[in-house]
Each structure stands twice: as structure tokens, then as C-alpha cells.
């Protein structure tokens, strides 16, 4: 990992990008915009455990490229998505944003943050929390694109009271 300087990257600018991302996920009208924040080879990954390093050869809670993410959101909007009647609402709080540096091999900006997500459906609210690691590249209308987002839930290998419909 290579260090970043103030001149190279404005940490507040990165933080604003993560807030923007959370806002897109919070708003069903902006889900497509969220998918478009990813690079064409972008990957969204939720492993079962923090120790997991291998997204291709080990089972995951979510391991999706842009195409599968698009399918996920198209389903959420489908009138016959039975588990979406009533609909899920979710909000995300992102904090502790730290720019860790640049990946020495790819040059991607490595950003770590902590999140809490509340998911509400059918009169029941479920709390999720954990850490995110973003690998970002410069570009796109929002200033950055996501090459890879890894989400580690503190409850990753726990029992799920409901199937998670919202993504952190």
C-alpha cells in the first residue's frame, strides 16, 4: 500500500462520495445510479466472515458484478416480487471514513469506513452493522467509481431473522 498525500486526494471529497453512494442506495429512484457508480469490471462482495480473502472460490452472502446487481434491483422493482409487498425501506449511516492509501499494484484508492444500516419491512426493523472497504478509481459524474466494495457484517456468519433485501 502506498501512502497518499493531501494534494493527491482530499479525504473530505472521498467521504462525500461515500455519503453520495449511501444516498443512492437509500432512494429506490436512484438504485440504477448506484449500480452505475461501479466500473464495468466492478464487484460488490459480502463475505460470510472477516477472515475470508477469496471471493471466487468460497461461498459468499453476496458476490455480484454489475449485471447481477442490475438483476437484483430489477427484481426489487418487479410488481410480483412477493417479498417486496410491502416494500423494504432502508437507511445507511456511514462514518469513520479513512483513506488508507493506494493499492501498490492497481493504484486504486483504498478507503475504509464503518456503517450501520436499518432495514424496515412489514412493521419490523432489523439493524445491520459492519465495515466497508472501497477500492476507488477517479472518474464518472460523482468523481469516483467503485472497482470493488467489500462489506463485512459483524453478524456475517450469524442467524438471519429475515432474508436481507437491502444492500449495505
Amino acid at each position: 500500500m502506498n501512502a497518499v498525500t493531501e494534494r493527491d486526494v482530499d479525504a473530505r471529497d472521498v467521504e462525500r462520495f461515500l455519503f453520495h453512494e449511501a444516498r443512492c442506495l437509500d432512494d429506490p429512484d436512484r438504485w440504477d445510479e448506484w449500480v452505475e457508480l461501479f466500473t464495468d469490471d466492478g464487484v460488490y462482495w459480502i463475505p460470510y466472515s472477516r477472515a475470508e480473502q477469496d471471493d471466487l472460490d468460497m461461498p459468499s452472502i453476496v458476490r455480484e458484478d454489475k449485471v447481477l446487481l442490475a438483476v437484483r434491483f430489477a427484481r426489487l422493482r418487479h410488481p410480483d416480487a412477493w417479498a417486496q409487498s410491502p416494500q423494504t425501506r432502508a437507511c445507511r449511516l456511514v462514518g469513520n471514513v479513512m483513506v488508507d492509501g493506494r493499492d501498490a499494484a492497481t493504484g486504486d484508492l483504498v478507503v475504509r469506513s464503518t456503517f450501520q444500516m436499518l432495514e424496515f419491512r412489514a412493521d419490523k426493523t432489523i439493524a445491520y452493522g459492519g465495515w466497508a472497504e472501497h477500492r476507488l478509481v477517479e472518474g464518472g459524474p460523482a468523481g469516483w467509481r467503485i472497482r470493488r466494495k467489500r462489506v463485512d457484517l459483524i453478524s456475517g456468519d450469524g442467524v438471519y431473522e429475515e432474508i436481507m433485501q437491502a444492500l449495505p
Binding site: 459480502i46 460470510y48 466472515s49 471466487l56 472460490d57 468460497m58 461461498p59 459468499s60 452472502i61 453476496v62 458476490r63 449485471v67 447481477l68 442490475a70 438483476v71 437484483r72 430489477a74 427484481r75 426489487l76 422493482r77 418487479h78 410488481p79 410480483d80 416480487a81 412477493w82 417479498a83 417486496q84 456475517g156 456468519d157 450469524g158 442467524v159 438471519y160 431473522e161 429475515e162 432474508i163 436481507m164 433485501q165 444492500l167
Partner: protein, 451 residues
């Protein structure tokens, strides 16, 4: 023929369930709603069904080294599967013989001994009591190292079928092989597909709660009608995305095509062409499902390897097996083509835990493993866009069945057209409810039999 018995009276949950009353809950083509909703019947199920049947405990690959253990439950009983120092697999109650404290709290681990967290009683990996602190206080009492009465109590019966460990709380009953009967093919199919003849558990087991009675899951497993309706949203979403992103349909990735594949329940649907075979004790499988064959490079490489290892004829016999799901009632559903095992645990009349275990085929090429894992990631996770709609249905059914207006649930589909061969009931079509009729016949047999 039991019409004279008012099965729902007096008030649900407070009545005594005599054998006659229980038998009256299951008719050839319908089931009384109480089997899903009555808390007293659920308690009876724990005693008469879960404590009698062979119940899956775990796979031997979870406990490779002496001292490795896996903690699980059979019904409400906390149990431990452990690898003893002599290499044997032991299954015993996870309960200290002093005050009843669980000796293992983590779901899995490795120990030299099991040491109780309360007063420090020490048990070997075979459950034998090895020592207690302040032993002189027990002089003249039966509490002493080696007394089997004070060892962790072994389950009355334990047996393994090709590495899959089952236990029964009942000292009598059919052997595991007799119990599994022809449904053992579900396990055979999982193991035989491994080029090196062995499978192992890998990754983390996914655990999700169904807010519904446990029996809905098994009614769904071999149901060929629901897919095109329940999962319509993901099918149509995948079709829409594929059409917008790929000009050439051949370029659509396999996982997206699998989402797209669920057909509506029409006479020409692939589901109609399948058929279920149903066995004693409620087991069964849906056969004729060929999703796993193909001439793509990944499948070709894998199939060539299997045939090289097993010979052309034996290899083809195994590759041609076409099981969709195999149900081992009341605890397991095996998706052998994709190496998935779903374990069902009843928590309450309207609350069920499902565990999803992933298996790796030893000796299979990486690309093949990877592809099967992608299917697990789509269908069998706590964030799946497929099973969430199944869970929703079962919740709706559990809630809908609270209605006192109508007491019966239909299992009429294709009734009267099953083909019976000895102990085996074959459905005519893959959309038949024959397997549900068979499950409930087994259910009534367990439940009406008093101690």
C-alpha cells in the same frame, strides 16, 4: 372415514391429541390446518417424530482431527459430534452431568477435553468423565471418573452413511440404511460426483429463519408448480437485464440464464416432464432434472475427468443421474448436482431454522467448483433474491391458516394418478402433489404411534 371426529375441538392448543384425532388430520387429498398451527401438536412432533427419526448431525469432514467438535441440535436437544482420540466419531448430549450446563458453547472448535464452565468437570472427547475438582467430596457417591452414568450421555443410536453422520434419540427403529432406503441416492449422487470419491464441507454455513412451520419447507422442495409463479420477479428481472445488455443471447452468463430459466406452470413446462419418487418415512426426490449437463468447456472438462477416473460406463451412469432435490424427511434436502445441503431445525410451531451447507467435490476442476458455488451464492444465501419469495409464501401460509373459516389444506393435485410399486409412490408428472401426500402419510404414521 374420520368425518365423525371434530378434529379442531375443543380449542386448539388445549386438546389432547389421541391417535384417532391425529390420524383424522391427514386425509388422502387434504391436511388439517392444525398440523401447521397447533402448538401442542408441535410439542408432540418433537417427541414422536424428531426424537424417533434419524436426524442429520453433520459431516465427518467437519471434525477431521481428534478433539474437533461440532455443536448442533436434534429437536430441542443440544448435541455434540466429536472426533475421539481413537479416530471414532461420537455423538453425545451437550450437557454436563452435574448441573446440565452445555460443555461446548461455540458451534465448532478443537479441545483436549470438554471442561464444564461452571464447576470444572472434565470429559474426554468420547464423553467419559475424567475428573472433577475436590473429588474427595464425592467419596462414597457414584460420582467418579469413568462411571458411564456421569459421562456425557451418548445418543442412543449413531450411524454414518458415506461420511454423513445421523443420530437418533430412539433406541429402536429401522437402521440408518433401512431408514434412508432408496433416498440414499441423494447422498450417493453428491459423493459419486467427486472425481476423488469424497466430498468435504467448505466455507461458512448460512443460517436463516423461516417464520413458518417447518413442514412448509419440505412441501416446497419437490414442488414443480411454484417456481414460475413464486420466482417470477427474478426470472423476469433477469430476462429484462439480459435483453438490455446482450445483443447475442449466447453471451448471457450462465448464472443469469439460470435466473431466467424458471418457466410458468404450462403444460409444456420442463417441470411437467419430471416426476417424483416417494418412499417410506416421507422421503422422496424429483427426478429428470438435467440442468447440470451441457457441452460448455467447464462441464466438458469435468465430465471427461469423471469418466477417466470411473470408466466411461460408470462415469456416464453417475453423470446422467438427474435429481433436482432429494428430501430426507424430516431434516434434510440435498441438491446433489450443486453440492448443497439444507438442514431444517424446528424452533417453534411457526419458527424454523434453515442451515445451508456447501460441499466441495474432491478432485473436481476449480472452474467447475466455482460455477456451482455461484449458484449457491444466487439461491442459498441470507441475501438471496430467490428463496426470499419462498420464505414470504410460507409466512403468508402460516398466517393465512389462522383463519378459522376453512380447516383444510389441499393436496389434490394429480391425486388418484400416482403409480404405486411396493413401498414406492411414483408421481405421473413433476407437478403432482404426490410427494406431499407421501410426506403427510409418514407424518401421521409417526405421530399416531404412542410411546
Amino acid at each position: 372415514m374420520h368425518a365423525a371426529i371434530d378434529v379442531a375441538a375443543p380449542l386448539e392448543g388445549r386438546q389432547t391429541w389421541s391417535a384417532d384425532r391425529i390420524r383424522a388430520l391427514v386425509e388422502p387429498d387434504r391436511v388439517h390446518r392444525s398440523v401447521y398451527t397447533d402448538p401442542a401438536l408441535f410439542e408432540l412432533e418433537l417427541e414422536r417424530l424428531w426424537n424417533r427419526a434419524w436426524v442429520y448431525v453433520g459431516h465427518e469432514s467437519q471434525i477431521r482431527q481428534p478433539g474437533d467438535y461440532f455443536a448442533t441440535e436434534i429437536g430441542r436437544n443440544p448435541v455434540l459430534m466429536s472426533r475421539h482420540t481413537d479416530g471414532s466419531v461420537r455423538v453425545m448430549f451437550n450437557r454436563c452431568t452435574h448441573k446440565g450446563v452445555m460443555v461446548a458453547r461455540a458451534r465448532a472448535g478443537r479441545v483436549k477435553n470438554f471442561v464444564c464452565s461452571y464447576h470444572g468437570w472434565v470429559f474426554g472427547t468420547d464423553g467419559a468423565l475424567k475428573g472433577v475438582p475436590l473429588a474427595d467430596g464425592y467419596e462414597g457417591t457414584p460420582v467418579r471418573a469413568g462411571n458411564p452414568d456421569f459421562g456425557l450421555m451418548p445418543l442412543p443410536r449413531v450411524a454414518s452413511y458415506r461420511g454423513f453422520v445421523f443420530a437418533s434419540l430412539s433406541a429402536d427403529g429401522p437402521s440408518l440404511t433401512e431408514f434412508l432406503g432408496p433416498a440414499a441416492v441423494g447422498i450417493d449422487d453428491m459423493v459419486d460426483r467427486a472425481p476423488d470419491g469424497e466430498v468435504e464441507v467448505y466455507g461458512t454455513c448460512a443460517r436463516t429463519i423461516q417464520h413458518a412451520n417447518w413442514k412448509f419447507f419440505f412441501e416446497n422442495q419437490l414442488d414443480g408448480v411454484h417456481a414460475g409463479i413464486t420466482h417470477r420477479s427474478s426470472t423476469e428481472a433477469a430476462r429484462k437485464v439480459a435483453a438490455s445488455k446482450y445483443a447475442d443471447p449466447a453471451q448471457v452468463p450462465r448464472e443469469v440464464r439460470m435466473f431466467m430459466a424458471q418457466e410458468p406452470p404450462e403444460p409444456k413446462s420442463v417441470w411437467v416432464k419430471l416426476n417424483s419418487s416417494n418412499f417410506r418415512y416421507g422421503h422422496g426426490f424429483l427426478g429428470g432434472y438435467q440442468e447440470h449437463r451441457g457441452d460448455d468447456p467447464v462441464t466438458t472438462e469435468y465430465e471427461a475427468l469423471v469418466k477417466r477416473k470411473l470408466g466411461e460406463e460408470e462415469g456416464e451412469r453417475i453423470l446422467a443421474r438427474s435429481l433436482h432435490h432429494t428430501v430426507i424427511y424430516p431434516c434434510l434436502s440435498i441438491q446433489s448436482q450443486f453440492q448443497q445441503l439444507r438442514v431444517i431445525k424446528p424452533l417453534g410451531v411457526d419458527r424454523t431454522l434453515m442451515e445451508i451447507w456447501h460441499f466441495r467435490l474432491k478432485g473436481a476442476p476449480q472452474a467447475f467448483q466455482r460455477r456451482n458455488m455461484i449458484i449457491a451464492n444466487m439461491v442459498n444465501t441470507p441475501a438471496t433474491i430467490i428463496s426470499c419469495d419462498d420464505y414470504e409464501n410460507w409466512y403468508r401460509a402460516q398466517t393465512g391458516l389462522q383463519a378459522r373459516a376453512q380447516d383444510w389444506v389441499s393436496i389434490h393435485r394429480d391425486h388418484g394418478r400416482d403409480r404405486v410399486e411396493g413401498d414406492v409412490v411414483h408421481s405421473r408428472v413433476g407437478t403432482s402433489e404426490a410427494f406431499q401426500r407421501n410426506q403427510y402419510a409418514a407424518w401421521a404414521e409417526y405421530m399416531a404411534r404412542e410411546a
